[in-house]
Symmetry: C2
Subunit: 197 residues, 2 copies
Amino acid sequence: MSFATSEHRRDVPLPQAYRLLNHGPTVLVSATHGGRANVMAAAWAMPLDFDPPKLTVVIDKNTFTRRLIEASGEFALSVPCRALVDATYAAGSLSGAEHEDKLAACGISTFAGQHIAAPLIEGCVAWLECRVIVEPHHQHAYDLFVAEVLAAQADERVFAGGRWLTDSPQVLRTLHHQSGGAFFVAGETVQARKPRG
Amino acid sequence: MSFATSEHRRDVPLPQAYRLLNHGPTVLVSATHGGRANVMAAAWAMPLDFDPPKLTVVIDKNTFTRRLIEASGEFALSVPCRALVDATYAAGSLSGAEHEDKLAACGISTFAGQHIAAPLIEGCVAWLECRVIVEPHHQHAYDLFVAEVLAAQADERVFAGGRWLTDSPQVLRTLHHQSGGAFFVAGETVQARKPRG
């Protein structure tokens, strides 16, 4: 599977990085350590601060990706689009502990990030490179990881000038997992009226 | 503004409550204490556990709603739909500290919950009644509130049998805030292919 999006990837200024997650898309979480790399899907991820940008994501204790994150202190979030719906569901269903190369089993290709060793996922529409802010109680009690965003990129066909484009191709729209492999695709953009203060 | 949805409200079994937030909608956070009630919008909210259901939401220190939550130990999340886009943006822009009755200023009506005193928002499509699990470090360092969901309801025209309906009316679709009052509306539902394990 090749989407060849590298020509469309553009850096996103860090104060705008939260906008890549603000609308609640499902993400792919990837990490590497000791020669192994893995990816999982997460619907439970959200921004946590604007500048410097932070985010938080729930990563179950049983996942192989969590072991790689705890060992390396880093992970990447990639924001998949409609074209990747089967790969995203596979990444959320298969286990890296049982598949020698889960990325291949999911039909996922990767490319190198700018600041961290964790691989970024090809064919996605946005990417955030993250360094874990160690919070033992959050991680133990709630499986909640907090991280600072070190670098962000987006596909200029869907996100440019700090905004999601209203007329982006359907196949590049973000996915929002309901349950059981059913996803909402991001639909029409509506602009609210400015409130009278 | 009257949407008269009470006839369509149905209880959601607690183990399915996470599905009301799983796809990343923007929510309205409401609370009451000492005779004052308030509401704010939050794009940064997500599930945290399945059963018993927990969720987490970022609530800034400067908000009036936070004062009410810290005093009462409770809040409600209501999931607004397209019909409420202007009210939702107003709830995210105006301050309850500056408006004697912010709910009225936002054009928002409320109804009583089942388990908590905090008001639920009329015209929304899903509601979660929450009790704060006090986590001082989360709250102080990251403005992050953790809560257990005590009761959940949804509008049967959009969520029934534990699932979001694929053919629900556009005006009842959930909102996903991008920035500056621009929201994605939840679009088409796509079903991923079951992965080969």
